[in-house]
Symmetry: C2
Subunit: 342 residues, 2 copies
Amino acid sequence: MGIKKTLLEDIAKELNVSKTLVSMVINGKGDAYGISKKTQEKVLAKAGEMEYTPNVFARALRTGKSHLIALLVADISNPFYSNIAKYVEKELASKGYNLMICSTDENVEREEKLISLFAEQHMIDGLIIATTNTSGEYFKKERLRNFPIVFIDRYLPDIESNYVVANNYQGSLEITELLIQKGCKNILALNITPSHISSLTERVKGYKDALKKHDISFKDENLLEISFDNIQNDVKEKLTKRLKQGQKIDAIYTLNNHIATACLNVFNEIGFDAKKEGVYFASFDNISLFDFVKPNIISVSQPLEQIGIEAANLALHLIDSKGMDASTFKKIVLPTSIISRD
Amino acid sequence: MGIKKTLLEDIAKELNVSKTLVSMVINGKGDAYGISKKTQEKVLAKAGEMEYTPNVFARALRTGKSHLIALLVADISNPFYSNIAKYVEKELASKGYNLMICSTDENVEREEKLISLFAEQHMIDGLIIATTNTSGEYFKKERLRNFPIVFIDRYLPDIESNYVVANNYQGSLEITELLIQKGCKNILALNITPSHISSLTERVKGYKDALKKHDISFKDENLLEISFDNIQNDVKEKLTKRLKQGQKIDAIYTLNNHIATACLNVFNEIGFDAKKEGVYFASFDNISLFDFVKPNIISVSQPLEQIGIEAANLALHLIDSKGMDASTFKKIVLPTSIISRD
DNA sequence: ATATAAATCTAAACTTATTTAGAAATTGTT
DNA sequence: AACAATTTCTAAATAAGTTTAGATTTATAT
């Protein structure tokens, strides 16, 4: 292993002091423990010279703090999550914390295994999670009580929790209204099923309420439920079928970026030209490349940077006020914006 | 902190055995240490019943292994990296390792700080990195000698190292040849500068060699160097200028997905319609949404999954054969493919 | 029954830091 | 100079595992 790592004890020996003292100084507690300025300087100088870096495991073992926070997302390759991840990391780095990003692959068991590994064993100090779980049952475990957890994107209705989400209801309401203003009456919405996920149910609610608000009656045939396991094929089958029967569609509105991409693929496959057909295409979630995609996409943009920053800071807050504040849950709901691309 | 965590000692006391024995059994070394089957069963049953999970810090402190591998990328929000990250994680998870993904923001100091924090302190067992460093100097440090490091995407020419990269030269050669076959003579390439990065220099080389191979002389005015700090503006300025002067362009070829996106933005801004102008648009790197972007993009697709899997396994191999194998470096170069989208 | 070998188990050391309780050195007071 | 009060520092305990060296117990051979 190349060269031996410098230990506290090595510095202590060099300076003929105790490792206790060295530890105190290096942790910035020299003044608090009444170590003379001169000694402090000596220690810091020697530590620098010997390139001392503390062993994080020994430190974490003793203190119970790792300065590590984990971010669990369903799929890190989804730009929605990878962008949030970037901002979470940046914010945490500025506060002396490191981020572990893990992708659960929308797999509940894997999510629970990771939480168990990281959180229950206190490998991490806090957890930020876009959960794929549909019930809060798992999070009620005794071991997770009082563990700092921040939900992002999605929260679980059946437990009290701290969360940072976009205003899915409002965003969905607004984009639907925009379509209505453009003259659309028959707006076909595509949702993922099973969708106990809070963000999606609220988007559906926003869609329906917008219709109601403008006296358009909701029709079952205008909400396609796409099976998560088989998005591409399911969109192809159900969309093709719907396009052929039922009332003519004025707009297609996908409730997340996954379905949007699947739709675009299907448009290509079946040779459906939305522009020619006079059909608007809209989607919740915004991806920068949407700017160049044909057909034009009207989209709801979530404040990714803000979600990241708020989630990071909320996690740090929970860590600092461990237990003190356990009774009050912070629920942060951030506004979305519509990108219309006419 | 809710309920007290179960310790080895707790199990030992319950069963009236030593914690040594419990540790051995739990680590699957019961047979090796000659613990009777009956006792082993007893221990495992009790451990399950008491929901024992080992303290990773204590374990790592004693063994020097954390079963953690870090993946450092320049920008996790870049789909190229986030996709690789997904596959690396999946592969490692299947082998009992966990992945820490960190984004260095193309910032050399941050990269070095993270490496120092993770690798030099042995917080991680291995490192997979798309380095933003331009020289291998930092990696020659005594402390990093023999530390398992796998470079991905980019390697440093001035040091011997283990790496997994796409065949950037070949891919660039092929896409340039494809453009030439389509009748292009004046192919404008846009590169990032400063580009000591191996992947980019090889793409430039592939581009130039393709021209040479087809007896087309390379012109300086057909290779724009875009400043990394200011991609968008720089592309706008230099591309606009080039479009107005010099010989007419037959194709625009961006050397990575960042510049491709910047170009698309500029096309929009200045109202340049590549199709109308009869200009092909090509880019190294492929993003799934490219399928729907106008103008059509001819692109070089890198084998993201394969890169991820190979990198993960190479890292694990290095960890296993710590030091044994230090003299032979594995250099894995994977083939790319062209996606032509006519 | 006794010595030897094999099987099974354990006490204590060890990993590297932090923290507690208290010792030693210095300063101040009379 | 004697005693108290500060200031400065340290030995030892501690975190929770793994590993080493060796102790017991059981089985086998004579």
